[in-house]
Symmetry: C2
Subunit: 136 residues, 2 copies
């Protein structure tokens, strides 16, 4: 996902182009890591001292619902990052030191097949945590 694609999606869904939205998206474009609402606010308040939590959270929710950002929970806090470009479903290794991620091309649900016949599966979570080669 890049800035242009993100704006196309936003415009298609009737969202207006604002400078705050643009800066939030630019921050995610320039960072591979998962970021928290606080991370964003800290950076953005340099350029926009009046930026508020409400604006951050509202836009994060919008972006996630439109598939522009993806979200995960790390040590009790919500973290966000740009939706991966990958055209196929995948999972992530997350480095607990630098926060960088690596795509895992395998999905465990493929192996499960008919292991849960009577169950209605809504979604799933598979993440691996540790240290990347650079941090090891």
């Amino acid at each position: 996902m890049n800035l242009t694609n993100a704006w196309t999606i936003l415009k298609d869904n009737g969202y207006k182009e604002t400078s705050k939205r643009n800066q939030i998206l630019e921050l995610f474009s320039n960072d591979e890591r998962y970021l928290t609402a606080r991370d964003l606010l800290d950076v953005m308040q340099k350029d926009y001292p009046s930026m508020s939590y409400d604006t951050v959270y509202r836009n994060l929710a919008t972006f996630v619902s439109l598939g522009i950002l993806e979200e995960t929970e790390l040590s009790g806090e919500r973290h966000f990052r740009m939706q991966c470009e990958s055209d196929h479903h995948h999972h992530h290794f997350i480095c607990m030191d630098c926060g960088k991620i690596k795509e895992i091309p395998v999905c465990p649900m493929d192996m499960l097949g008919a292991a849960l016949p009577a169950y209605e599966i809504a979604n799933h979570k598979f993440e691996i945590y540790g240290k990347c080669p650079e941090c090891k």
Copy 2:
């Protein structure tokens, strides 16, 4: 994990036997589901009106660190349940309606083998969410 085993572990690690601890453990023994701190407090304040959050959270942290309880994050809240008896590593299907769980005997890490050679893997999370046969 049952009450007797839990108390053996606690005693071995120098923890004292208290009625509050016992009731917390009894509640988990009688419930298959994941419970929140609030769930516990609501039930326990019937018997111990003075039970405080501090006591609940402190003991939950103790129990998790000793492997008596296991913990997961569901919709932004920490949830706890008795550690499974299973002698081998496994994962869970969690019903989003009734909260009951079902053990998944497969671990995706087995399939990954040497897929992340240069990475140091600390831990992983794999959970499936949906509706169980009864709730469907």
